[in-house]
């Protein structure tokens, strides 16, 4: 606000004060705001871990050197990076330091009466003068009152002011920005977000171990996870027959929680999450889990159950991995699943519709060390086959068996899976409130004008005005005012 450059005084206190003043100047705030805008750009052009982890690992494969270098600057995780946070935390501090003192100032200014009428009105804008009939002051007073001007009257002159709404709205707008930032930080400190993939028929108990991925805020207490269990009863997807585009997803669950100890049936859809207290459960994605039974050479079951496969395109061609470390020797299957099978021109399997009309499970069997004990984190959907030997390859219809040296695998059928996001976001209502206040404040500030009008009645009548920030509209207003005073119709 005071943008005059001040030389730092000697001593650390002086230096700190200097730094604070610089940080909280409006210029700094605006530079930080622009910086935040610029800093947001790379994250929209470079793939981000949080949104597109596959593309990030692809980049590491194709250009490892460059990618590692980029990673040093958190370019694959821009919005969680130290430098991005630094910008918005500085902006936050700058805004507070800049706007709070103004709020107090404005608070006093609102209650102050307008300053006295200047001596030389003819130096002001929109000056006009005429010979009056003595009634003008009375008429002016009435007009100002009816228009809710605040007035000060001395010695045959009136100084009137209106439009504090502009500054009030403006301050509310800037304060609301602080509120939004507060809400966002509150969410990241006290919130949680987790995801879980569940096959239809499975039960989900809300404890940390049930999640596939779970992230808490720094101050989130683990015991705060709401108590509930969900049973996935059924899932139905419908598609447009011409375009294959999804039309509707309906997930039926049975919910048991404190309020529903005996269980209650609920429906979750894409735009309507299930709410339990402050926690919301969203339907995020879906796919198929082939159900398989793996037997060893003696016919003993080594593994049985549904294995979620990861969709790769809109027709749900999916990839996945079946790992059987307990078989002797260990086996693994690299698989792909197509719900509606067709041979592509190149000979590969593609899916031509996202529903399971003619499903196929294509497996390639490997034997050897699966690498599960190596300590290197493993993808659920892939197998590192470098230390393994391929021992067979087959495409299966439901019910078919694939026998390979050392055992067999049966494709029993399939079941849909859904990916649920479970979110507790305690700051979001603050952010929303901030957003609403910001808009109201903006409207008040952009659509009102602050201006002063003076009138002095002596030998002649003199009228002048001044609009803050040279906002237009005062000239017309003065014209109306003067017509009123002259009693013209």
């Amino acid at each position: 606000m005071n943008d005059r450059i001040q030389l730092p005084e000697l001593g650390s206190v002086g230096f700190l004060r200097y730094g604070w003043r610089q940080l909280t100047s409006m210029r700094t705030a605006l530079i930080l705001l622009m910086l935040l805008g610029i800093a947001a750009v790379p994250g929209s052009l470079i793939p981000q871990r949080t949104q597109n982890p596959m593309a990030v690992s692809a980049s590491f494969k194709s250009a490892p050197g460059l990618s590692r270098w980029m990673d040093q600057f958190s370019l694959f995780d821009v919005y969680g990076s130290a430098w991005f946070s630094a910008i918005y935390i500085l902006l936050f501090i700058s805004l507070i330091g800049c706007v709070l003192p103004r709020t107090f100032e404005h608070f006093y200014a609102i209650r102050a009466i307008p300053p006295v009428t200047p001596k030389n009105l003819d130096r002001m804008e929109f000056y006009s003068t005429w010979l009056g009939n003595g009634e003008e002051l009375k008429l002016a007073r009435a007009w100002f009152k009816s228009k809710h001007f605040r007035i000060r009257e001395i010695d045959g002159s009136i100084s009137a002011e209106k439009g504090f709404t502009r500054e009030t709205g403006n301050l509310f707008f800037h304060l609301a920005l602080i509120l939004i930032l507060l809400g966002i930080s509150f969410s990241s400190l006290f919130g949680m977000r987790g995801e879980a993939i569940l096959n239809v028929g499975e039960r989900f108990v809300n404890t940390p171990t049930s999640y596939d991925s779970l992230a808490y805020g720094k101050l989130f207490k683990e015991g705060k996870l709401v108590d509930f269990t969900l049973k996935i009863n059924s899932f139905a997807a419908s598609y447009n027959l011409e375009t294959n585009a999804p039309q509707d997803y309906i997930l039926n669950v049975a919910l048991k929680s404190k309020d529903w100890p005996n269980g209650q049936r609920r429906v979750i859809k894409v735009n309507s999450p299930l709410t339990i207290g402050n926690t919301k459960i969203y339907l995020q994605a879906n796919g198929f889990s082939p159900i398989v039974t793996v037997r060893d050479s003696k016919g003993n079951v080594a593994m049985q159950g549904p294995i979620p496969f990861l969709p790769q395109d809109a027709n749900l061609r999916s990839i996945g991995a079946i790992k059987v470390p307990d078989a002797d020797p260990p086996v693994g299957f690299v698989g792909s699943f197509v719900p509606t099978y067709q041979r592509s021109v190149g000979g590969g399997a593609i899916s031509v519709f996202p529903k399971a009309l003619d499903p196929r499970l294509l497996l390639s069997a490997y034997s050897g060390d699966l690498g599960l004990d190596s300590g290197v984190p493993q993808s659920f959907y892939r197998i590192d086959t470098t230390a393994m030997k391929q021992i067979g390859l087959k495409a299966l219809k439901p019910g078919e068996v694939f026998t390979y040296p050392g055992g067999s695998i049966t494709f029993e059928g399939l079941v849909p899976w859904v990916n649920l996001a479970i979110v507790d976001d305690p700051g979001k209502n603050f952010a929303l409130l901030g957003a609403i206040v910001a808009i109201l404040g903006l409207l008040a500030s952009l659509f009102t004008r602050r201006r002063r009008i003076w009138i002095r009645v002596g030998d002649v009548v003199e009228v002048a005005g001044l609009a803050k920030n040279a906002t237009p509209g005062l000239e017309q207003e003065l014209a109306i005012f003067i017509t009123q005073l002259k009693g013209e119709k």
Binding site: M26, L30, L33, M34, L36, G37, A40, V41, G43, S44, L45, P47, Q48, T50, Q51, N52, A55, V78, Y79, I184, R193, N240, E242, T243, A245, P246, Q247, D248, Y249, K269, V270, N271, S272, P273, K280, Y282, Q284, A314, A421, V423, D425, K428, A431, L432, A435, I436, A438, I439, L442, L443, L446, N469, P472
Partner: protein, 297 residues
């Protein structure tokens, strides 16, 4: 039934293109043939009385084109059984509608007929691209897009976009005229343009007018994202660029109101902010990745 509506929509859009073409020619005629009578100083000056009739026809055609396009957009909505904002084709026809609508509304208050040539040609180009390149058969929405907030969010964003582009056109005209005046005289037809001061004020007023609406559009988008994806802000490319546009216009308003920027610098900043909006629409929709990029444009 939905087929019939889709055909009707296409015919209406073709007819509106024909009418906009007429409007374009009328504006071009007005611009070209107003230069006629010699002045006392024997310089040529403009006489708009000669072309007043044509100018009126141009505006009337623009209004007619607007209503035909409006009907076309509505019919498109009926054919799909939803609001007509599901893909790039539909965004483009609605965007063209918003742009010419913004122009016509502003025309009621300000003398903007000089801008009609530009408005009609850009609407024509947008519609032409939409029909020739972006056209997709009418289809219902994917589940994530089925939300009242989508209607609110997209309509606010499209209207804001129309006004931002209008402000950009005026800021562009400012820069053009300014460079012309720096070189010397205005060319004859440029005399048709209002004063630099007027252009400067006008682009500011347009931006100040829609900035709250754009703010609202971004917030409505966040509310929709919260109900669909469980987070109100995720730095998806589309969201990120909406934010960048917002920041750029906030900087523009600030530069004007508190730092007193006027004229060239302000006009350049306005153009810059507007181009972040266009970038978001064109680049992110077509080449970007993210939750907002639905397959098949």
């Amino acid at each position: 039934m939905s087929r019939t509506w889709a055909y009707l929509s296409n015919y209406l859009i073709y007819s509106s293109m024909a009418v906009y073409t007429l409007s374009f020619f009328a504006h071009a005629f007005e611009t070209a043939w107003a230069v006629k009578i010699p002045d006392v100083n024997s310089a040529k000056v403009l006489d708009y009385k000669r072309t007043e009739k044509v100018a009126r026809i141009a505006t009337a055609m623009m209004i007619l084109g607007f209503f035909l396009l409006f009907a076309g957009v509505i019919a498109r909505g009926f054919s799909a059984g939803r609001v007509p904002w599901g893909n790039m084709y539909e965004f483009s026809i609605t965007g063209a509608l918003a742009f010419s609508g913004a122009y016509l509304v502003a025309l009621r208050k300000y003398d903007l007929r000089w801008l009609g040539l530009f408005v009609s040609i850009s609407v024509l180009l947008t519609l032409g691209t939409a029909v020739a390149v972006l056209y997709r058969p009418s289809a219902p929405l994917v589940p994530a897009l089925k939300s009242t907030w989508l209607v609110i969010h997209v309509s606010a964003a499209i209207i804001s976009g129309g006004v931002f582009l209008l402000a950009n056109a005026i800021a562009g005209a400012y820069l053009y005229l300014d460079s012309m005046e720096q070189k010397g005289e205005r060319t004859a037809w440029a005399k048709r343009l209002p004063s630099l001061e007027y252009l400067d004020q006008l682009s500011y007023r347009l931006v100040a007018f829609v900035f709250p609406l754009w703010t609202f559009a971004v917030i409505a988008g966040a509310i929709w994202a919260e109900s669909a994806w469980g987070r109100y802000w995720g730095w998806d490319p589309k969201e990120t660029w909406a934010f960048i546009t917002w920041v750029a216009y906030a900087a523009y308003l600030h530069a004007r109101v508190t730092a007193g920027w006027r004229g060239r610098r302000a006009a350049w900043l306005c153009l810059f902010a507007g181009s972040t909006f266009l970038f978001n629409y064109v680049y992110i929709n077509i080449w970007g990745t993210g939750k907002h990029t639905y397959s098949g444009l």
